[in-house]
Symmetry: C2
Subunit: 183 residues, 2 copies
Amino acid sequence: MRLVRYGGAMSLDGYIAGPNGEYDWIVPDPDVDFGEMMAPFDTFLIGRKTFETMLRAGNAKPPAGIDYFVFSNTLKAADHPGVAISNDPVHTVQELREKPGKDIALFGGGDLFRTLLRAGLVDRVEVSIVPVLLGGGVPLLPQPADRAKLKLRSQRVYEKSGTVRLEYEIARYGLSNRTAPAR
Amino acid sequence: MRLVRYGGAMSLDGYIAGPNGEYDWIVPDPDVDFGEMMAPFDTFLIGRKTFETMLRAGNAKPPAGIDYFVFSNTLKAADHPGVAISNDPVHTVQELREKPGKDIALFGGGDLFRTLLRAGLVDRVEVSIVPVLLGGGVPLLPQPADRAKLKLRSQRVYEKSGTVRLEYEIARYGLSNRTAPAR
């Protein structure tokens, strides 16, 4: 089954963007190969707030070979040709996982992560820890959220920037230690 | 000069304790050598909330060779023989840094970390990232706090538990990129 993978750059204190959505703290590292990092994916799941940031940046059109699914109760499909809009992330992601294809990237959107985590629909968490304390911002996982036990799959240090890439599998969901769905 | 080092176990989403102060998520790892980890220190800085947790656990007496400094406006020195109590962390830590001795551990207490970070009195942040998402709790650094740029000093993976130890130097304090005090 296709995997749903949540990831991105994170500050050491657990934020994926600054208090006003800032990304200026993300240190570029010449050894990070974005092409290689994106190669396993053909589908992006995007929260409404993240999509609006992309719209403002004029960067909301999917590249060739990638499908965008945006989750919102208010955006209208007619206004955004080229992306799929859904107001039911759980149902949409359940359907996507059953279809053949490459892996599914959960891109930005701590709220969307929380919703899909609660539904047991996230397989991996993959963060690049940037050497900074932000002291506030958009959290990786907004509270309150369920606990999830992780299993470290791999780690890599990017020496030039001091960024640490950590890849985890979600081993168990929730306080009740419900086991993750078999795959 | 003696270094002030803040550290401890942290969840991947940036919490040093659960919403009710829980530590049950910290996975013991047989390869973690606490004696070795504590050897560089002879002084502990302890926030009031952390100290009260230690009191409740019957664990508030310093071991031989260690001095405890507890920061509080309300605790009375007469009630707590054997520990020093101060209501002025900035002044106390400035004085401690000038004295000869081993390094100074900032132990628990995100609020105390924020206060000392703002005053430019923390040299290192050393966290052991436990493979768990807590979804809420006591943050490593309570918001709002100033930004601080870090520099990765070392990393180590504890394979048995999947804990990742990351040690950083504080490279620059605050949004204004004020340089850290020379040492």
